[in-house]
C-alpha cells in the first residue's frame, strides 16, 4: 500500500479542492486503511495532487507518424546541433521517449486519433511499444469504397452500423474519426477542393451524408466517444463557416470537433485572414452536444501529419524544410509536411491567437480540451507553456507584447482577461476527457478509481510546475519521481467492442476477396500479433 500524504487534492468529479490524503492498493485508489500502515509513504506537502492526465488527440503512433520519423532523420535530437534549443528535440520521436515524456508531465492515457484501417496492426505495434501510458486509437472511416457504396445504395441503417462496428472491432479501436469526409476518395478522382455539400466523384454521396451516417452509427452502437470530426476546409481562410455548418448539421446528437483552431478563420483584413474564434466559441457555448479540442499552435519547427490528403497536398507547397510525403493507401491516405511556425509570420501569429481565444472564450471547461494536435500545432511537450499562457494573464501579455501588432489586431486576444484555475485545468485534462471517452475508471481520485495519479510541486511558474511531475503513479506503480522516469511498466490499448454480427463478417469476407483478392485477416488486429501478454483493456459501450 502506498500513502500519498498531505497533498492538495484537485478532483472536480468528487468535488475535492483542498488538503487530503490518498491510499493506493494494487492498481486502485482505496479507502483509508484502519490499523494498517502503508508500505510506502510519499510526502506531498506543497504539492497539488490530480488524477493522471488524459490527452484525447495526439499523433503518437502509426504508419504516418513513422513516415514522418523516416522523412526527417535530421530533426532527431541526435542529429541536431544544439538539439536542446529546438522544439523537435523535445518531440519524443521514438516510442520510448514518447511514453517517458508524457509520464514525466503526469499524463497516463493518450489517444492516437488517426489509425488508418489498412494499417491497424502497424499502429497497434507502435502503441504497444510506447511504455508506461495507456493508449487508445480512433479508426479513420469515411473514404472507403465499401461504406460509400452502402450509402449511395441507401443500404439499411443497420448495415452501416454493422460495418462501423466491424471496422472498430477488427482494428482494435476506441472510437471513430472522420477526416474531411470523402475527400481522400475525391482526391483520388483529382478533386483539389472539397466541402460539406460536395459529392465524392463516382460515388454519389456528399461529405455531409458521410458525416451524418457515421455519427448516427457511432451513437446507436453505444460507443462512448462520439464521432470525432475533422471538418472540411482545414486551414482555409473563412473556414469558420464550414465548422459552424457542420455543427449545425450534426446537432441533436453528440459530436466532437477536432483541432478547431484550424477552423477559426475569417477573411477580414488586407490579407484576407482574421480570427473568427469568437463566432466559433459562441456556437460551442450554445450547442451543448458539441465538444471540441483546440489544436493550439506554438512557434517553432514541427511536422504536420494528417490523413487529410487533399489538404496536405495543398500544404506541400509550404513545406519547411522543402520535402513532403503524400501517400494514398487503400481506404484512405495521408500527408506528411514539415512546417515551421514563425512568430514573425502574420498568418502563424493569427493562428496562435485564435487557439488561445477559443480556450478563453469557451465557457464550459467540460467541453473544450487541451491539444496541440501533436505534432501538427506543436509537440505535446509544449503543454506546460500552454497551461501557463492560460493560467497567468501576465505570461500571456508578455507573449503578446513580443508579437507583431498588425497580426494581433485581426484577433480579439488582447482584450480577454480570463485566467484558468487549477480546477479548470483538472477538468479539461482529466475529468472531462475520461467522460468524453467513457473511461469511468480514471480521470478522478475517488475510491475504486485506477491509481493513475500526478503530483505537482506548486510553483509560481506554471510551465515549470507542469513540466516535471514530482510523482506520477500509473496503475498503482510509481513511475516518475522528481520529474524523472524510474519505472517503465507496459501500458495497454483501450478498445471498445460494440458487437459486430457474423452477417457483416461474411459480407466483408466477400468484399475483400472480390476487391483485393485478399482475406480480411490482412487488415485484422490480432492480440497475438502484438507480443504482449495482455495488450487490450476493454471499455464498456453504453447499453
Amino acid at each position: 500500500m502506498i500513502h500519498l500524504k498531505g497533498g492538495y487534492l484537485v478532483d472536480p468529479v468528487n468535488r475535492l479542492d483542498g488538503p487530503g490524503d490518498l491510499w493506493i492498493e494494487g492498481e486502485h485508489i482505496v479507502a483509508p486503511p484502519s490499523g494498517r500502515l502503508a508500505a510506502e509513504t510519499i510526502d506531498c506537502s506543497g504539492c497539488v495532487v490530480m488524477a493522471g492526465a488524459i490527452d484525447i488527440h495526439s499523433h503518437i503512433g502509426g504508419g504516418s507518424v513513422n513516415t514522418a520519423r523516416l522523412l526527417l532523420p535530421e530533426q532527431h535530437p541526435a542529429a541536431l546541433w544544439r538539439a536542446s534549443d529546438t522544439a523537435l528535440s523535445r518531440i519524443g520521436f521514438d516510442v520510448e521517449t514518447t511514453g517517458r515524456l508524457y509520464a514525466e508531465m503526469g499524463f497516463t492515457t493518450v489517444v492516437e486519433p488517426a489509425m488508418m484501417p489498412s494499417n491497424g496492426l502497424h499502429a497497434h505495434l507502435e502503441l504497444a511499444d510506447i511504455p508506461i501510458i495507456d493508449k487508445g486509437a480512433l479508426v479513420v472511416l469515411g473514404n472507403e469504397d465499401f461504406l460509400l457504396t452502402l450509402l449511395r445504395e441507401k443500404d439499411s441503417r443497420s448495415a452501416v452500423r454493422d460495418y462501423v462496428s466491424y471496422m472498430v472491432e477488427s482494428t482494435g479501436a476506441l472510437g471513430v474519426k472522420v477526416i474531411n469526409a470523402g475527400a481522400s476518395a475525391a482526391f483520388k478522382a483529382n478533386a483539389r477542393t472539397f466541402s460539406l455539400d460536395d459529392e465524392v466523384p463516382g460515388h454519389g454521396v456528399t461529405s455531409r451524408q458521410i458525416v451524418l451516417a457515421l455519427q448516427q452509427a457511432v451513437d446507436e452502437l453505444g460507443i462512448p466517444h462520439p464521432l470525432h470530426i475533422h471538418c472540411n476546409n482545414l486551414g482555409v481562410p473563412g473556414n469558420a463557416d464550414t465548422a459552424l455548418a457542420t455543427m449545425e448539421a450534426t446537432s441533436g446528437r453528440a459530436a466532437h470537433f477536432a483541432h478547431v483552431q484550424f477552423y477559426g478563420y475569417g477573411k477580414e483584413g488586407r490579407r484576407g485572414f482574421s480570427s473568427a474564434a469568437a463566432r466559433v466559441a459562441e456556437q460551442v457555448n450554445r450547442r451543448k452536444d458539441v465538444t471540441v479540442d483546440v489544436g493550439q499552435i506554438m512557434f517553432g519547427q514541427t511536422v504536420t501529419i494528417s490523413s487529410d490528403t487533399l489538404r496536405q497536398f495543398t500544404a506541400r507547397n509550404f513545406s519547411r524544410p522543402r520535402k513532403w510525403v503524400i501517400s494514398e493507401t487503400d481506404f484512405n491516405g495521408s500527408g506528411i509536411v514539415p512546417y515551421r511556425y514563425s512568430s514573425s509570420d502574420f498568418y502563424n501569429v493569427v493562428q496562435w491567437a485564435v487557439g488561445l481565444e477559443l480556450f478563453l472564450l469557451i465557457d464550459d471547461p467540460w467541453r473544450v480540451f487541451f491539444t496541440t494536435d501533436h505534432p501538427n500545432g506543436a509537440p505535446f511537450t509544449a503543454y506546460p507553456e500552454l497551461f501557463a499562457l492560460l493560467m497567468d494573464r501576465q505570461v500571456r501579455s508578455n507573449a503578446i507584447a513580443a508579437l507583431p501588432k498588425r497580426a494581433l489586431a485581426m484577433t480579439g486576444l488582447a482584450s480577454i482577461g480570463r485566467e484558468y484555475t487549477l480546477a479548470e485545468i483538472a477538468i479539461m485534462t482529466r475529468a472531462a476527457p475520461a467522460r468524453l471517452l467513457g473511461l469511468a475508471d480514471r480521470g478522478h481520485l475517488g475510491r475504486g478509481a485506477r491509481a493513475d495519479i500526478a503530483v505537482y510541486r506548486r510553483r509560481e511558474d506554471k510551465a515549470e510546475m507542469f513540466r516535471h511531475a514530482a510523482v506520477t503513479v500509473k496503475g498503482g506503480a510509481i513511475v516518475v519521481r522528481d520529474g524523472t522516469v524510474i519505472a517503465r511498466p507496459e501500458g495497454r490499448a483501450l478498445v471498445v467492442k460494440p458487437g459486430a454480427g457474423s452477417a457483416i463478417s461474411r459480407r466483408m469476407e466477400r468484399y475483400y476477396d472480390t476487391t483485393f483478392g485478399l482475406s480480411p485477416r490482412f487488415f485484422h488486429v490480432d492480440a497475438a500479433a502484438l507480443g504482449r501478454s495482455d495488450p487490450f483493456l476493454e471499455v464498456a459501450c453504453r447499453s
Binding site: R69, H76, K188, I326, F516, G517
Partner: protein, 351 residues
C-alpha cells in the same frame, strides 16, 4: 542442422543461448545484422541492440538505405499495389523489372484493370505500349530525366518515343511508377519521385516501391519507431540514436575491423560470408549448412510456416499476421533473441 551448435559441436539450445550471451557481453562493439525475420524478432533484436549499443543493419541494408535516403532528401508520392491494381490505367516500369519480388509485384498490379505500360530499361520480353531503352542504372536515370524534360516542354526536339511516352503519362487518369530501389541509382530514384510530383499537379500519379526483401520494409519501419531514425544506426545510453548510412553499414564496420562480434537474425535470409570475419551467432532455418559452422548457431522456425508471424505484405504495403502453414515446435527467432537478452549479465541487459 540440429537445434544448436557451439564451435561446431551440437549442444542443447540453452547452452548455445548462454554462449551467445557470453559472446555479446564480452564484445566492445557488437553488430546485430540480418533482421531477416518477423516483426517480433526484429523488435526483440532492436531492443537487444539498444541495451548493448550494437550497430543495427538489415540483410538488404544497402537497398533499404538508398530508399530511406531518397525519402529523407526529397519526400515522395506513394500508393499501394492494390490501389494501382484496381484503379490504375497507366504504368511506368522504371528499371529492369525482374527479380522475384519485383516480378511478383508487377504481376499483381497488372491483374486488375487493363493498363497501358511504359518501360524504361526493361527486358525486351516484357510487353509494353512504349519501351524506352536504357542499358544500365545510369542510363535509366538519364532516360527518366529526358522523359521529365519532355513532359515539362523543355526540349526543342524530343525523341519520338519520349513524346509518345509523355503523351501517355499526360492522358493517365491514375498513373503509377513501379520501381525497386535495389535496381536504381539514387539520381534515378530522385528523378522518378520528382516526375511523379510534377505529374500530380494535373492528375493523380503516384509510385509503388518494391518492398525490401526478407521483411526489410518492416525492419526499416520498426527501427523508425524504436530508434526514431532509419536503419544503419546505433543507440547508446549516452548519445541516444545515431543514424549514418555509411558509418553503420555493417559490412564496412566488420570489414574495417571495428566490430568484434555479430548476431545474425534470420531465418528469412542466411548470413553472407564476410560477416564471419568476427565471432558470429547465427539464427537460421533448418536448411542452414555452411562449410564451417559459426561460433554459435541456433535453428529457428520460419514465420508463417512453423509459427505465426507478422510480415510486411507486398499487396497492401502493410503489416499482417500470417498464420503458421505447417506448425512445428521449432522456436521463433524472437524467443531466441529474448532468451539471449535475458541471459546477459545485468550490467549489459539494460534492465
Amino acid at each position: 542442422m540440429a537445434e544448436a551448435y557451439v564451435n561446431g559441436q551440437a549442444v542443447p539450445r540453452d547452452a548455445a543461448i548462454a554462449a551467445a550471451a557470453r559472446l555479446l557481453a564480452s564484445s566492445t562493439l557488437p553488430v546485430i545484422a540480418g533482421l531477416a525475420a518477423d516483426v517480433a524478432a526484429i523488435r526483440a533484436g532492436l531492443r537487444l541492440a539498444r541495451a548493448i549499443g550494437a550497430v543495427v543493419d538489415h540483410a538488404a541494408g544497402a537497398e533499404l538505405s538508398r530508399q530511406a535516403e531518397v525519402l529523407a532528401r526529397s519526400g515522395t508520392m506513394a500508393t499501394t499495389a492494390q490501389e494501382v491494381r484496381q484503379f490504375g490505367d497507366v504504368l511506368l516500369l522504371a528499371g529492369p523489372g525482374d527479380g522475384d519480388e519485383t516480378t511478383r509485384l508487377i504481376d499483381y498490379v497488372c491483374l486488375g484493370r487493363q493498363k497501358r505500360v511504359i518501360t524504361i530499361g526493361a527486358a525486351p520480353s516484357r510487353p509494353a505500349t512504349v519501351s524506352l531503352a536504357a542499358a544500365d542504372e545510369h542510363a535509366v536515370a538519364a532516360a527518366l530525366a529526358l522523359l521529365r524534360a519532355t513532359l515539362a516542354g523543355r526540349l526543342a526536339a524530343p525523341p519520338a518515343d519520349y513524346v509518345e511516352a509523355a503523351e501517355l503519362l499526360r492522358q493517365a487518369r491514375f498513373g503509377a511508377v513501379v520501381y525497386s530501389a535495389a535496381r536504381l541509382s539514387s539520381p534515378a530514384l530522385e528523378m522518378l519521385l520528382g516526375l511523379a510530383g510534377d505529374l500530380n499537379a494535373a492528375h493523380r500519379f503516384s509510385t509503388v516501391a518494391v518492398p525490401g526483401p526478407a521483411n526489410g520494409e518492416a525492419a526499416l519501419q520498426i527501427c523508425g519507431w524504436l530508434f526514431g531514425v532509419p536503419l544503419r544506426s546505433r543507440w547508446t545510453a549516452a548519445a541516444g540514436a545515431k543514424h549514418d548510412p555509411w558509418r553503420y553499414d555493417v559490412r564496412r564496420v566488420i570489414g574495417e575491423g571495428e566490430a568484434d562480434a555479430a548476431l545474425w537474425i534470420g531465418p528469412l535470409q542466411d548470413p553472407p560470408d564476410w560477416l564471419r570475419a568476427v565471432p558470429t551467432i547465427v539464427l537460421a532455418g533448418r536448411g542452414y549448412a555452411p562449410d564451417t559452422m559459426p561460433q554459435v548457431a541456433i535453428s529457428v522456425g520460419r514465420p508463417g510456416v512453423d509459427h505465426p508471424g507478422v510480415l510486411h505484405q507486398l499487396e497492401t504495403q502493410a503489416l499482417s499476421l500470417v498464420p503458421a502453414s505447417r506448425p512445428t515446435a521449432l522456436p521463433s527467432s524472437a524467443e531466441i533473441v529474448a532468451a539471449i537478452h535475458a541471459a546477459l549479465p545485468q550490467s549489459r541487459s539494460g534492465a
